[in-house]
């Protein structure tokens, strides 16, 4: 924002340029408010963050590697930890690479697959081959997969059997195979038995207690946070703004009654009120939105009412009356546009507040049904494992902090730009 109120604009411009040439780039960046009137980078960064969050909330399916409710691997994988999946192990010269390759005609000999007795991989191969078999049958390929499982006691025994060709393939967890792979150069691991290759590098943010991807839940959770933040703020805006406008403009008895109600609502501890409302209404995203909206109506009401009362004493309102403007016309065309800037600022800060309250509610297990991907729920689930799995609460916690920071910073920055009294000279 150009510096407008210092006398001659040309002379001012000159001085501005001289000063600009004397300072270095970094200092120029940090002292930018001197020339632009506010911490423009403050606003720029936070606005970029806000739009980033909104983008993530709109298109989580493009950004998240998995859906928020799919179980993708073993539970409690640390960030970057390789998931230890059962692999199909074959001789290097064998054409077999996946379970499907072992399928044979209905009357042919059933293939033999080796496994470790009592290990999870033995259970997995059973389940997985049934799934593949069902797919083959329904696909009318004429092939079946009904392997005979040969059980061994130790890994070397299994690997020996594969090398000797006693079994067509073997199943072992990747880590188990890796331990001995040096001794068996003629063996290699193909794919995981479920078909895919294991995620390279594991999961960026690890997996949670039931093996869901933390990153994917984080990305899908953005949607819930943004939806709760925006819709509850919009609802309280839509109720608080007109009430404040009318109360401030017409004053009188209705105003006093309304103000008393709003003040009592405001004085009541916010989170407790929200807890009470959701406890009565039951856990659902709509109820959370309603509870939070009720909480923030008084904020808008008070600000708008105060602003309206200031604006309506301005001379231009009297001037509007003197040219015969109608009352609603004055309210709509003279008072309302002069109140809106402060509302925009409150809105931004309010969204941050609403997200925080929403997360708080679901952390307490009151807000959302547990099937939804929500940061508050993730936090609540993670805090039970805080000593063993730090990544379960760190990432959702950081996300909450960042989104609240972004909206609050944007609001504060806008306030500084719109309110010249706060401007540093």
């Amino acid at each position: 924002m150009p510096n407008k109120d210092n006398g001659n604009p040309n002379a001012n411009n000159e001085a501005w340029r001289n000063e600009l040439q004397q300072v270095g780039f970094v200092r120029r960046l940090f002292q930018a408010r001197k020339w632009y009137g506010a911490d423009w980078w403050f606003v720029a960064i936070s606005t970029a963050m806000v739009f980033g969050f909104i983008f993530v909330a709109l298109f989580p399916q493009w950004l998240a590697p998995y859906r928020f409710d799919t179980i993708v691997g073993t539970s409690f994988l640390a960030p970057g930890e390789y998931p230890d999946l059962p692999m199909l192990i074959t001789r290097t010269d064998s054409p077999t690479n996946s379970l499907q390759d072992l399928a044979v005609g209905a009357n042919a000999d059933r293939p033999v697959i080796g496994a470790i007795r009592g290990s999870p991989s033995a259970v997995a191969i059973n389940e997985q081959s049934q799934i593949v078999d069902e797919q083959l049958v329904s696909g009318n390929s004429g092939l079946r997969l009904r392997p005979r499982i040969e059980r061994y006691v130790t890994i070397p025994a299994l690997l020996d059997a594969i090398t000797a060709g006693e079994v067509a393939a073997g199943v072992a967890n990747e880590s188990e195979f890796e331990e001995y792979s040096g001794d068996y150069p003629e063996l290699h691991s193909g794919t995981t038995i479920s078909g895919g290759t294991a995620t390279a590098g594991g999961f960026v943010m690890g997996t949670n207690d039931i093996g869901q991807d933390v990153l994917s839940r984080l990305i899908w959770g953005t949607r819930v946070a943004i939806v709760i933040g925006f819709s509850s703020s919009i609802i309280s805006l839509l109720i608080g703004l007109p009430l404040g406008l009318l109360a401030g403009y017409f004053s009188g008895k209705a105003d006093r009654t309304l103000s008393l109600v709003m003040d009592s609502l405001y004085a009541f501890p916010g989170l407790i009120l929200a807890i009470a409302i959701t406890a009565v209404l039951g856990p659902s995203i709509y109820n959370v939105i309603v509870a939070i909206a009720v909480l923030y109506i008084p904020t808008y009401y008070r600000i708008v009412r105060g602003q309206t009362m200031t604006v309506k004493e301005e001379v231009f309102i009297e001037a509007a009356q003197s040219i015969g403007a109608r009352r609603w016309e004055i309210l709509w065309r003279y008072v309302f546009p002069n109140v809106i800037p402060s509302v925009a600022i409150i809105f931004s800060i309010n969204v941050a507040d609403a997200i925080l309250t929403g997360a708080g509610l679901s952390f307490l297990g009151l807000g959302l049904p547990p099937t939804i991907a929500d940061w508050g729920i993730d936090l609540a689930r993670g805090q039970r494992h805080i000593q063993t799995a730090w990544w379960l609460i760190t990432f959702p916690g950081t996300a909450i902090m960042l989104i609240v920071l972004a909206f609050t910073m944007m609001g504060e920055g806008l306030m500084e730009i719109f309110n010249p009294k706060l401007r540093e000279r």
Binding site: V315, F316, A319, Q321, S322, I323, G324, E329, N338
Partner: protein
């Protein structure tokens, strides 16, 4: 030229209801505004001039109310009109120009919107295009260039904004414009231009202007007649020439003496004794008597009525009273 009365005000009382009691800011004021004239209304600060101006449009707000009197404007009884009918009079027939042009325009509306909105508020059948056309023509007459119409009030100077305010009053061909200290916040050169403009407009639009001011010089410059108010009452009204040459009321005399004058030289400026009275507890009888150099016994007991003196002047003072002692 026959004198035609445009606005006749009779025994107008306006009160402010405050915690300290009711303050009568306009106390049984009666005068006429003649069609086509510029009537100056002068007086000290807080003597009730602005309250009177607003009351003439019934524009007073909450603590103030008109408690009595008759307002006859152009053959209509304004006191009998409903608020909705009054709205069509405001702007449509009586316009107002405020003291501070910096704050009397909506900061978030363009100039052209101010004008078209005024036109559309009173003539809802006018098309938006037609209203814009009319607004443009009017603005041009007032010396506002067409490209400036798309600017916001903060982009204009004080003099320009005052022109905009006037054009709002003229947009619907108001018959009477009440200008409440229109030049107070303008510098002398802009003020002179503005006063010239007022005179031109009177000719062109057949306008009647009530010029409320505390600046005697402005009144002398443009007014045809002048009314002097003191402590909520009208003390003298008459033709500018005769009042300036021969002020009858001691207050008017004092007021005219206190005007700085370059020919005065080193002589100290006349300062009136005392201070204006509190309207909460006004003095008995004539309100000027505690400060009056010519005070008589009757002044403390009885309020002097406005009486005709000379050909066209009226004064409220016992000095010219024929009533004797009552």
């Amino acid at each position: 030229m026959p004198v035609e009365i445009l606005y006749s005000i009779r025994n107008l009382d306006v009160e402010y209801h405050t915690r300290g009691g009711d303050v009568r800011a306009v106390d049984s004021v009666s005068f006429d505004i003649r069609r086509g004239e510029i009537l100056g209304l002068v007086g000290e600060s807080a003597c009730g001039k602005s309250t009177l101006g607003k009351a003439l449009m019934r524009l007073h707000r909450k603590p103030a109310s008109i408690v009595g009197g008759q307002l006859h404007f152009d053959g209509r009884d304004l006191m009998a009109l409903t608020e909705d009918e009054m709205r069509t009079v405001r702007g449509g027939e009586i316009g107002m120009v405020f003291q501070d042009p910096m704050t009397s325009l909506n900061p978030v509306q363009r100039i052209i919107e101010h004008l078209t909105e005024t036109i559309l508020a009173h003539e809802p059948n006018t098309s938006k295009k037609e209203a814009r056309l009319r607004a443009g023509k009017l603005a041009e007459k007032l010396g506002i260039r067409a490209e400036r119409l798309n600017e916001y009030p903060h982009q204009m100077s004080g003099g320009m904004r005052q022109r905009v305010m006037i054009s709002l009053a003229l947009a619907l061909r108001a018959k009477l414009v009440i200008a409440d200290e229109p030049t107070t916040s303008l510098d002398v050169i802009v003020e002179a231009k503005f006063l010239d403009l007022l005179r031109e407009l009177r000719q062109e639009f057949d306008l009647t202007i009530l010029l409320i001011t505390h600046n005697i010089g402005v009144v002398a410059e443009v007014s045809d007649r002048v009314a002097v108010m003191y402590a909520a009452r009208l003390v003298e009204i008459g033709d500018v020439g005769s009042i300036f040459a021969n002020p009858k009321h001691p207050y008017t005399r004092g007021l005219l003496h206190s005007v700085p004058n370059i020919t005065l030289g080193d002589i100290e400026l006349y300062k009136m004794e005392g201070a204006p009275p509190s309207l909460l507890r006004p003095p008995t009888g004539c309100r000027f008597h505690p400060r009056c150099p010519d005070v008589m016994a009757i002044c403390k007991r009885k309020n002097p009525p406005l009486q005709k003196i000379g050909s066209d002047n009226q004064v409220a003072c016992w000095l010219y009273g024929k009533e004797g002692d009552a």
